[in-house]
C-alpha cells in the first residue's frame, strides 16, 4: 500500500489543480482504505483498489463542497481562462488547461495519461462502461489539445 501512495498523491495533485488539499484527499483515501481493508482481496490489484477509493472520496468531497466557489469554477471556461503567453504554454498553464476540463474528462485523461491505467481499469475505477471511458478520453484530449494550442489566440481575441 505504501508503494502506491506516491502515485495517489501525484494523481490527486493533478486532479485538484496543484492545490494543497491534494494530500487531504489522499489522507481520507488511506483512512477509508484501512477502514475497509478487510474487503481487499489479497492478490488483487491494490493500486486499482486504492484509486477506486480515491475516486469515491473525491466525488464525495466535490458534492460536499459544491457550494464553495473554487469548485464551481471548474469547467467554467470564461471564469478561469488562462492568460497564456505567446509560444509554448508554461507549466502553470497546463494546470489551468486541466482545470478547464469537466471533472469526468480530467479524471480519465489523468488516469490514462499520467497514471498509465489500462482503459478497462479506468472503467472499473470510475464504475462506468468502457465506451464511456473512451468517449471521455477522446473529448478530454481534444479539449486539452485545443486549449493548449489555441489558448494564446483565445486570449488575444478576448482583448480585442
Amino acid at each position: 500500500m505504501v508503494t502506491v501512495v506516491p502515485s495517489l498523491r501525484r494523481y490527486a495533485r493533478a486532479l485538484l489543480g496543484g492545490r494543497g488539499d491534494a494530500d487531504d484527499l489522499v489522507h481520507d483515501t488511506l483512512v477509508r482504505a484501512m477502514d475497509r481493508i478487510h474487503l481487499y482481496r489479497p492478490g488483487s490489484d491494490i493500486r486499482a483498489w486504492l484509486f477506486t477509493i480515491l475516486h469515491n472520496q473525491h466525488i464525495d468531497a466535490v458534492r460536499r463542497s459544491a457550494r464553495r466557489p473554487d469548485y464551481v469554477a471548474i469547467g467554467d471556461e470564461e471564469a478561469t481562462a488562462p492568460a497564456a503567453q505567446e509560444g509554448r504554454l508554461a507549466v502553470r498553464d497546463l494546470d489551468q488547461a486541466l482545470a478547464l476540463l469537466p471533472n469526468e474528462q480530467r479524471q480519465v485523461v489523468l488516469l490514462v495519461g499520467l497514471e498509465g491505467l489500462a482503459y478497462t481499469e479506468v472503467a472499473a475505477v470510475l464504475d462506468v462502461p468502457l465506451g464511456t471511458v473512451m468517449s471521455r478520453l477522446n473529448r478530454g484530449r481534444q479539449r486539452l489539445r485545443s486549449l493548449m494550442e489555441q489558448g494564446p489566440a483565445k486570449s488575444i481575441r478576448r482583448i480585442k
Binding site: R10, G113, L117, Y119, M134
Partner: protein, 285 residues
C-alpha cells in the same frame, strides 16, 4: 453503438497509450503514415502525456508526509484527522498483512509516458522480486573477501555456468562506460528458481548488482515505461520498468519476456536509470 469515427478515435488513443498488441500497432502505424492529420493528433496526445509527467512526476520523489504513512502504519495517528472508526483486531491484522504484501516502505514505481502499456500494475509479486534482489544485494555487497563465487577473471566460466543453471544464454553486461567493472557473480535461489547475480564495482568502491531470474507466472503483468526511457522502449511496448528505493539503495526492475531483472545500487534514480537503460539495451541486443 460504435461508429467508424469512434473506432478510429479509439485506435488513435490506443496507439498513444500503447494499449494495443504488435499487430494492431503495425496496422495503425501504416494508417498514420498515410493520414497526417491523425498522425498529428497522436503526436499531440503523446505530448500531452509527456507534459503531464513533466509537470507532476516530481511528486513521486517527495518525501511522504508522515501523517499519510501514519494512517497505514499506526492506528493511533490514523484516528487523528477526525476519523471516528475503530480498528478491530482482525482488521489490524489484515492491515498489517496488506502492508507486508504490498512491499516495503518507501518504494515506488515509475509510470510511463509516451508508450505506457497494457497493464500498468505493480503486482505484489513483482515488488517481492525487487525486495529479494535488494536483500541479496545487501547481503553480498557487504562481503569483503567473498563477494562473488566466481570472479571476473574467470568470466567465461561464470557466464557459461549461470547460463546453464538458468537455462538461457546469459551475458554479464559491460558497464565500463558508466564506471562499473565486473567483480564476478554467484548463483542464488528465489522461489525455488535459480538466480544469477552479477556484481560490479566503481572506483569509489560502490557496488552494483544485477539480479536475473526466470519470470514465474505470478510475477507477470507489469508494463510500465519510464518517461526517460520512452524512446528506448517505443518498439517494445511490453517491457516494464519499475523503480523502488529503500534502505539507502535503489533498484530498477523489469520483466522482459521469460526473465525478470533487477539492477540494484546505492545511486539516485537518474543515475541508476542511465545504467538500467544501458543494461536493458545491451541485454536486448
Amino acid at each position: 453503438m460504435k461508429t467508424p469515427d469512434s473506432e478510429r478515435d479509439a485506435d488513435l488513443h490506443a496507439a498513444v497509450d500503447g494499449q494495443i498488441d504488435q499487430a494492431e500497432q503495425t496496422r495503425i502505424d501504416a494508417w498514420l503514415a498515410d493520414n497526417p492529420e491523425d498522425a498529428a493528433t497522436v503526436h499531440a496526445y503523446r505530448l500531452q502525456n509527456a507534459r503531464l509527467h513533466d509537470r507532476y512526476d516530481d511528486v513521486l520523489n517527495e518525501t511522504l508526509p508522515p501523517h499519510l504513512l501514519g494512517v497505514i502504519e499506526s492506528p493511533s495517528v490514523y484516528a487523528r484527522r477526525g476519523w471516528t472508526g475503530r480498528l478491530t483486531g482482525i482488521r489490524r491484522l489484515a492491515a498489517s498483512l496488506a502492508f507486508l504484501i504490498a512491499g516495503g516502505a518507501g518504494g515506488w514505481m515509475l509510470h510511463g509516458q509516451m508508450v505506457p502499456s497494457a497493464s500498468p500494475v505493480a503486482t505484489a509479486a513483482a515488488t517481492g522480486f525487487a525486495d529479494k534482489a535488494i536483500g541479496a544485494h545487501k547481503v553480498f555487497v557487504a562481503e569483503v573477501r567473498h563477494p562473488v563465487e566466481v570472479p571476473a577473471s574467470d568470466e567465461p566460466h561464470l557466464v557459461a555456468w549461470l547460463s546453464k543453471r538458468l537455462g538461457t544464454t546469459l551475458r554479464a553486461p559491460d558497464m565500463n562506460d558508466v564506471g562499473f567493472s565486473l567483480v564476478g557473480g554467484r548463483l542464488l535461489a528465489d522461489l525455488n528458481l535459480p538466480v544469477a547475480q552479477f556484481m560490479y564495482q566503481d572506483d569509489n568502491g560502490r557496488r552494483l548488482t544485477l539480479y536475473v531470474r526466470s519470470t514465474d507466472e505470478t510475477g507477470r503483468g507489469d508494463a510500465i515505461v519510464p518517461q526517460d526511457a520512452a524512446e528506448l522502449t517505443s518498439s517494445k511496448v511490453k517491457t516494464a520498468f519499475h523503480f523502488v528505493k529503500h534502505g539507502g539503495v535503489s533498484a530498477f526492475y523489469w520483466i522482459d519476456n521469460a526473465f525478470s531483472y533487477a539492477l540494484v545500487a546505492p545511486l539516485d534514480r537518474p543515475g541508476l536509470l542511465a545504467i538500467a537503460i544501458k543494461v536493458y539495451t545491451e541485454l536486448d541486443n
